[in-house]
């Protein structure tokens, strides 16, 4: 079959534009798809840090980005998870990796709960190699033994401007044609589809498909095509965020830290050259000025490059409308607490690739994409709402616990977790059941029971297995290099 040549124009800014353009260009460039990138002015503040989840590795592989050069170029660092620190409470670590290993096919979490009920005093994260390594300032480099034990995935903290420059250069290298403009005018065809985009200099960019990567402004999908947006605002306490940079830590922690304050939360993203600080708060409770003071106090440092933005969590009712696909923040805005923003973008790109039209007829693809993306985004939203719903923290910001009525699935999931220490399996879930368990438990939600099959395991067997795992974690962690030293050697190699 001979293909109709397809032209796809990606319009937008920052990571949403450059990650989409570079991946589409690399993956489809050799299959007769012409990718055009239309760059709008960046809105990234100077000191901004991008935090990624482990799955980003798949896109980096597609782009042939090597870890060493990525971290060298962006002065970035590793992130094994998020440490959650709240006044008056024990901190807990939400690791991207696995907690414990199953015992005779039984989930570790349930075995651990049974042991705790009988006096075991080791916290859940004591069985998570990457959590113990990270909180001790160490890497956790996978080997056969750790792979057999469980996942030790990590993401990155990258200085955004350098990362964007890298993605932009990769886009060009992948044959993506670049245009720049400060404004666009959308031209619709007789059939209602988008026919072309007019740039500042009146150049008309025609294409078969348009990708809206214009972030919150959603210039194509929301503005031009008037796709309605479902707001999730009522479920989230923060409607405003500060972004800034603090000096780098002397010993760079290989994780993000969430610092809870009575009036909001700060997320610290350490890198080699600086620490990104995001502070999420409610504009009804605090002015920007007070928020800046709070953020500075909470991060224990003077902040530079302070910028504010509004948070409008929500999602497009249809992410693919006519011949326009919205990805990233144009499709779905999330709360900053769990570092999922890049993951939202990645989900949109990956599914666009797997459903990229093979001809001029793509109704089936459009319907499937819309069905899939809503499901993915709803599951991410549920994870975030669960965090705020269960948060036991004190202070005005935390006083209004959001309800669980965003979806029936969420209320049921929390109910079944409480009853049985079980995360109901659902399609299109981004976070593992171990993530759910670590976060819910860390917030103080302790299940009432577990599967009775757990009670049939002998005490001897449980004791032996726990002992073996703890020994393994200790031995593995002690083998690991310190994060800073590892970064130094990695970035020096081949430089």
């Amino acid at each position: 079959m001979s293909r109709e040549a397809l032209r796809v124009a990606v319009v937008g800014r920052d990571a949403d534009l450059w990650l989409t353009a570079s991946v589409l260009g690399r993956a489809l460039g050799s299959t007769g798809v012409r990718v055009i990138a239309i760059e709008m002015p960046s809105r990234v503040p100077a000191g901004h840090v991008t935090a990624t989840l482990p799955p980003i590795e798949a896109l980096h592989e597609k782009l042939k980005i090597e870890e060493a050069s990525l971290l060298r170029t962006t002065r970035g660092s590793f992130s094994f998870g998020q440490n959650v620190v709240a006044p008056g409470r024990q901190a807990f670590f939400h690791a991207w990796g696995a907690y414990g290993a199953s015992i005779d096919g039984n989930p570790f979490f349930q075995c651990w709960l049974r042991a705790v009920r009988s006096g075991l005093s080791v916290p859940l994260q004591g069985f998570c190699p990457s959590a113990i390594a990270a909180t001790n300032g160490r890497m956790l480099l996978p080997d056969d033994a750790t792979v057999a034990f469980g996942r030790t995935d990590y993401g990155y903290h990258l200085n955004t401007l350098a990362y964007l420059a890298l993605l932009k250069s990769l886009s060009a290298a992948a044959g993506v044609v670049l245009h720049r403009t400060s404004r666009i005018t959308v031209q619709r065809g007789a059939d209602g589809d988008i026919a072309a985009l007019l740039l500042d200099d009146s150049t008309a960019i025609k294409a078969d498909l348009f990708v809206d990567a214009t972030r919150e402004s959603s210039l194509l999908a929301s503005e031009a095509l008037e796709v309605p947006r479902t707001s999730w605002q009522a479920h989230f306490p923060a409607d405003r965020a500060l972004s800034s940079a603090a000096p780098a830590f002397t010993a760079i922690p290989p994780f993000a830290e969430i610092r809870i304050t009575p009036l909001g939360l700060a997320v610290l993203h350490p890198t080699q050259s600086a620490t990104g600080v995001v502070f999420a708060f409610s504009s009804r409770q605090m002015s920007d000025e007070v928020a800046a003071e709070q953020a500075s106090r909470s991060s224990g440092a003077a902040l530079r490059d302070v910028a504010f933005s509004s948070l409008k969590p929500g999602v497009l009712t249809r992410c693919w409308e006519r011949n326009c696909i919205a990805v990233g923040a144009a499709a779905c805005s999330v709360d900053p607490v769990h570092d999922v923003e890049m993951h939202v973008l990645q989900l949109g790109i990956v599914h666009l690739l797997s459903l990229f039209p093979v001809s001029g007829h793509f109704d089936a693809e459009r319907l499937e994409y819309n069905r899939l993306m809503r499901s993915h985004y709803d599951r991410l939203r549920d994870f975030q709402i669960a965090f705020y719903h269960c948060a036991p923290f004190s202070g005005d910001f935390w006083a209004q616990h959001p309800t669980l009525d965003a979806s029936e699935a969420l209320a049921d999931r929390i109910a079944i977790y409480k009853a049985r220490a079980l995360i109901a399996p659902m399609e299109n879930e981004s976070f593992s059941s171990e993530s759910w368990e670590a976060v819910l438990l860390g917030l103080g939600v302790v299940p009432e029971g577990w599967s009775p099959a757990i009670n049939a395991i002998s005490w001897q067997r449980l004791n032996d297995e726990f002992g073996r795992m703890l020994q393994f974690v200790r031995a593995k962690v002690l083998e690991q290099p310190m994060h800073g030293a590892y970064l130094d050697s990695l970035c020096a190699s081949g430089a």
Partner: protein, 518 residues
């Protein structure tokens, strides 16, 4: 940590009603995972109530269930007169005369991130004549040669690309599980239920009064009473969701026939005028049957059809079974959980009945209330019901595909099926396959992508295009690769031993072994 701080647990009394395959799988599965001092298990069965127990074909998952019980495979196969199963052959489902196999195995291999069907489609469209898709499955090659061997564990080897299941006598399987369960503390009561005693306020079940006058009390009741659904349906009044609009068949005539050679390592499902006929080879006989729709034929015609289709002398008169396609709206209501036919029925076209039992038992163990806690915990019931619904709907859609995508023009059942409005969940899968040869991707429930591929292609659903990524494969490399794959499959399959010999050497049933000795 030590056991001393645990309060002495009370006992939860689990009563299973019905001793067919579902009842004994439930009893054995629960007994294997639950401590006797926490859960007592009693099963009530009646020798007077027959079980449906015809020759049964299974899915590979059953091996996990048997392994968990610690059953010795050869002994289990001997005891149930079992043979191996590599898939199902579908005859006459497209144009009459056509046939395809749904194997328990992969088609080809992904290459540079491109799934196999795209490589194959591309090769065909560029005129390289890759031959039928079915030639790229090792399991199919083995099945065609009536051969069998165990898959090996080397993921690089073509001989690791399949799984297997069994054909067995379901009645004997139930007996085999009973023999496993009784010495391990499952109590068996012979008897029939006269009356179900319910709590006057809550309405949950308190006890079963047997005809013998014995009163069997319990905390949780598992309804394995088959189509009657005595507890969940008749007593608790849980409604029925009828799927007759998609699955018209509501009768079956079962008849055993003498064993013939070669003994096929696969089930056969042959489409007929008003339904389809099964053929299940066991060691001592062949199980046959005609699943038909009473809307489209009468019993006498059906009887003639099933007898005419036999490849050997019948060993009994055809026996009639009546059923309704669909499921109870919920499977766990109050303190009653229905498993097996008591919770729903889907025709055996894809051998899913025992799998659905197995999945329900596993979910029940995960969600079983603690001793001393109410068995009516709605949180547990709700999750069980959600999972149960998912399993049934996944299977339903897959079955409906076989009927909907047929090419049997001019036969009323099949003309109806082609014109029917199918569930949305199936329609979008079909649309996507037609548009770009994309296979359904979901994590939970049956069936695998390879299964969908075999049936979609087998039923004649034609993709209009393949993935763009396949365009990055050069034509010469693709041709070479496909050729070598076919050769590897053919060469390896040719070295397998005949299924009959394999079964005789591994697990020949005792009375058969005696017969051949005399």
């Amino acid at each position: 940590m030590n056991e001393g701080v645990q309060p002495a647990p009370r006992i939860m009394r689990i009563v299973i009603l019905g001793g067919g395959t579902a009842g004994w799988m439930t009893a054995a599965g629960l007994r294997r995972q639950l401590k006797p001092e926490h859960y007592s298990i009693t099963l009530i069965e009646s020798d007077e109530i027959g079980t449906v127990g015809v020759g049964e074909a299974t899915l590979p998952h059953i091996k996990l269930f048997n392994d968990a019980l610690g059953l010795n495979e050869a002994e289990f196969m001997r005891a149930t007169h079992a043979t191996f199963k590599l898939g199902i052959q579908f005859r006459d489902w497209g144009q009459p005369g056509e046939s395809y196999m749904h194997p328990f195995g992969a088609f080809g291999e992904p290459w540079r991130g491109v799934e196999f069907q795209h490589q194959w489609l591309k090769a065909g469209l560029m005129g390289a004549d890759p031959g039928p898709l079915q030639d790229y499955s090792y399991a199919i090659a083995a099945a065609r040669g009536n051969a069998f061997e165990f898959p090996n564990g080397d993921p690089k080897s073509i001989r690791s690309t399949y799984a297997y299941a069994y054909h067995f006598d379901a009645g004997l399987y139930a007996s085999h599980l009973r023999a496993w369960a009784l010495p391990r503390g499952v109590a068996r009561i012979e008897g029939q239920v006269l009356q179900v005693k319910r709590h006057p306020q809550g309405g949950e079940i308190n006890a079963l009064l047997l005809k013998s006058g014995e009163l069997v009390t319990g905390d949780l009741f598992v309804d394995c009473s088959g189509f009657r659904s005595l507890l969940l349906g008749q007593t608790l009044g849980v409604g029925w969701e009828d799927w007759n609009q998609w699955l018209s068949c509501d009768r079956a005539l079962a008849v055993p026939s003498r064993r013939v050679e070669p003994m096929t390592p696969y089930t056969r499902a042959t489409a007929c005028e008003a339904g389809w006929c099964w053929r299940i080879p066991l060691q001592h006989r062949t199980g046959n049957g005609y699943v038909f729709s009473s809307r489209f034929t009468d019993e006498e015609t059906a009887r003639r059809t099933v007898l005419a289709g036999l490849d050997a002398e019948p060993l009994a008169e055809p026996r009639l079974l009546k059923f309704l396609p669909g499921r109870r709206r919920i499977a766990w209501s109050q303190n009653c959980v229905a498993i097996g036919l008591a919770s729903g029925f889907l025709e055996p076209l894809e051998s899913t009945s025992i799998f659905l039992v197995q999945a329900a038992v596993a979910d029940l163990i995960r969600l079983l209330p603690d001793p001393g806690c109410p068995a009516t915990d709605s949180r547990l019931a709700k999750e069980f019901n959600r999972l149960n619904e998912l399993q049934y709907e996944r299977v339903r859609d897959f079955l409906v595909l076989h009927y909907f995508a047929n090419a049997r023009h001019g036969q009323p059942l099949w003309d109806y099926a082609r014109a029917m409005q199918i569930p949305d969940s199936l329609q979008h899968k079909l649309d996507l396959f037609r548009s770009r040869a994309a296979l359904p991707s979901y994590q939970y429930g049956l069936f695998s992508r390879d299964s969908w591929l075999s049936v979609l292609m087998g039923q004649g659903v034609k993709p209009r295009a393949y993935e763009r990524l396949a365009d990055t494969l050069t034509e010469s490399a693709l041709t070479e690769r496909l050729q070598s794959l076919r050769q590897r499959i053919a060469a390896n399959a040719a070295r397998m031993s005949p299924h009959s010999d394999f079964v005789a050497g591994y697990c020949e049933s005792r009375h058969l072994a005696q017969e051949s000795a005399t």
